[in-house]
Amino acid sequence: MILPFMKPLVIAGREFRSRLFIGTGKFGSHELMRQAIEVSGCELVTVALRRVDLDKNPEGDPLISKLDPNKVVIVPNTSGARTAEEAIRIARLARAAGGFDWIKLELTPNLHHLLPDPIETLKAAEVLAKEGFKVLPYMNADPVLAKRLEEVGVVAVMPLGAPIGTNRGLRTRDMIEIIIANANVPVVVDAGLGLPSHVAEAIEMGADCVLVNTAIAAAADPVKMALAFSKAVEAAELARQAGPRAPRMMADASSPLTGFLWKE
C-alpha cells in the first residue's frame, strides 16, 4: 500500500513509511485489531501496559502476540497512571519485562475525560528521557509545554486534536499550528480525530503524523476504517509534497502604501 516515493517520517532515528499510528484498545477482538493494523500499513502501535500482564513473558500476552515486532514498533503507554512516579515505575517495569524502550506517556489523573496532566507529564518525561527511553508524551495542545518537553529530550510531541475518544476532529487547530511552526521534533496529532478528513487536515496543515484509536477500533468495520484512514493520511502527505495551490486571500489593491515610491 505504501507508495515508494513518499518521504519517510523519522522519529528517534527510526524511519516510518506510514504516518498513521494506531492505538490497540477498544477493538472487538485481537484478530480484528491485527487485521486493521496490517491493512493500514501502520508501523507503530501503542499498547496499554495495564492490559498486559508484566509478570509473565509479554511475548506470550494474547494482545502482544498478535503484533509482529518486525513490522511494527510496539510502544507501551502508561494509561492509568495519575502521577509522574506511577508512570516512571510502569515504564521501568515494561523495559525490564519486555525490553521496551519506547514509551508513550499518558498521565491522566481524571479517569473520565482522560485529559493529560501537564506538570506530571513534564516531570516523568525528564526522568525517562534521562534513562534513555524514547519518550512520546500525550499532551494538551499547548505550544509552551511542547517546547518544555522538547527541552527535556522527548523524541516527538503528541498534542490532542480534541478530547480523547470524542471523534470531533481538529478542535485545537490554532494551537497545533503554533506547535508545528516551532517544533524541532516531529508533531504527532493524537486523540479526538474521528474521520479520515480530520487526519488529512492535520497532515495538510503540517503535522508529521497522526495517532488514531477509537475512530478505527469502534467503527462498525474497523478493518475498512483503518484502510480509509491510511489512505487519507497518504493522500494528504502526497498532496503536501506535491505543493498545493492556496486559494487567493486578497484582491489586487490600489497603491495607498507604496504609491509614494513612484511619485518623486
Binding site: K147, E150, E177, A181, N182, A183, N184, R245, A246, P247, R248, M249, M250, D252, A253, S254, S255, L257, T258, G259, F260, L261
Partner: protein, 375 residues
Amino acid sequence: MSTHFLHTLNEWPPERVHDLIYSRTTDQVGAALNSSGHYEPENLAALLSPAAEPQLENLAQLSAHWTRQRFGNAIQFFAPLYVSNFCCNGCTYCGFNQATNNTVRRALTLEEAVAEAQCLASQGFGHILLVSGEDRKNASPEWLAELTHRIRPLFASIQIEIYALSQPEYVRLISQGVDGMTMFQESYNPKVYAHFHPTGPKRDYNNRIDAFERAAQAGMTFLGLGTLLGLNDWREEGFYMGLHAAYLQKKYWRTSLAFSFPRIRPAAGSMPPPYPVTDANLVQLMSALRVQLPDSTQTLSTRESPGFRERLLYIAVNKMSAGAKTTPGGYQQATDAEAQFEVADPRSLEEVAKVVKSLGFDPVMKDWDSTYSKA
C-alpha cells in the same frame, strides 16, 4: 539540539539561494502571498524575488496587516549611546575603521558615559543601546558591565551593540542588567564578508555568526540581526536574515528577535555601495520579512530620512531611534569625534514623537522593565 546555525548555512550555499530567488515565478509569488504568517524558505525567496516586484503593493498591504495585528499602533523608541569609536577592525565601509587616519578617536570614561546615559534618560528614553567599536581596551566587557550596573536604575532596557563576546562574557553582562544584543553580520555571504573585513578580529565570519547563539545560551532576552544593505544583493541577504531568525526562534524560543535595516547611502567621501538598495527594494525586503516572520521587531534608524521612516510606520516598522548622536559624548556637547554614519533624520525625540502621534501611532518610551533583567 546541539546543532549550530553554521550547519544550516551549509545547506544553503549562496549559489543555491541565488538560484532559488531568481527562478521564482509569478505563480509562486501568489502562493507565498496566500500563505503568509509563517516561515517557509521557498516562500520567503518568492517574496524577495524580482517576480514579486509587480505585487509590491499587495505585499505591503499584507505586511501592514501583520504589523498591526502583532504590534498594534505602538512604536517603541530607543537611543544609541556610543561609548568608544576606537576600533581594531578594518571594515572598509566604516567611519571607525582602524586604517582611517584622520578619524578623531574618543572613548568615554565611566563618568562621561554615565553622564550621557543620564542625558538620554532625562529626554525620556527608557530603552538604550550601548554601542562601541572593537575596543577591548577602553570598552572592555568588564567596563561595560560596570557601566550597565551604574545606569541600570535609569532604564527599562539596556542592550548592547558591540564586538563578539564569549559566552561567559555575555553571562557577565547579563548579570549586570544587559537584556539584549544586536550584532550585524553585515553579509551572510562568506566571500563578500571576507572582502569587506580584511583585518581585525571581525574577520572571523564563523565567530561572529556563533555569537548569536552564545548570547542566546547565556540568556539574552532580545537578539537583533541585520546586514549592511549595499554590500551584496539585498535579496540574498534578506533570505539569510529570515533563515537565521527562523532558526534562532525555534531553538531559543524564549528569545525575542529583531531585524534592523542599515542601508549604505551614497554620500560625499564615503564608499559608494556596490549593490545600491532603492526605497522600493527596502520596502520589499522589510515587507517580505514581516509577512514571513510576523512576530519579529523591525527597526529603522536615523540613517533613513524622516519622510521614509514615517511611510514605513504604516507598512512594517515598530521600533525606531530618535535624536541619535553617533559620536561618543555627542549628547551633551558638540564633538569633533568621528561619527559612524551620517544621520539623515536629525530631529529630536520630542519632535519625532510628536509627528508619530499626529499620524495616529503611540510613541512608547518604556516597553520592558528592569525587574525582568537578570541583574
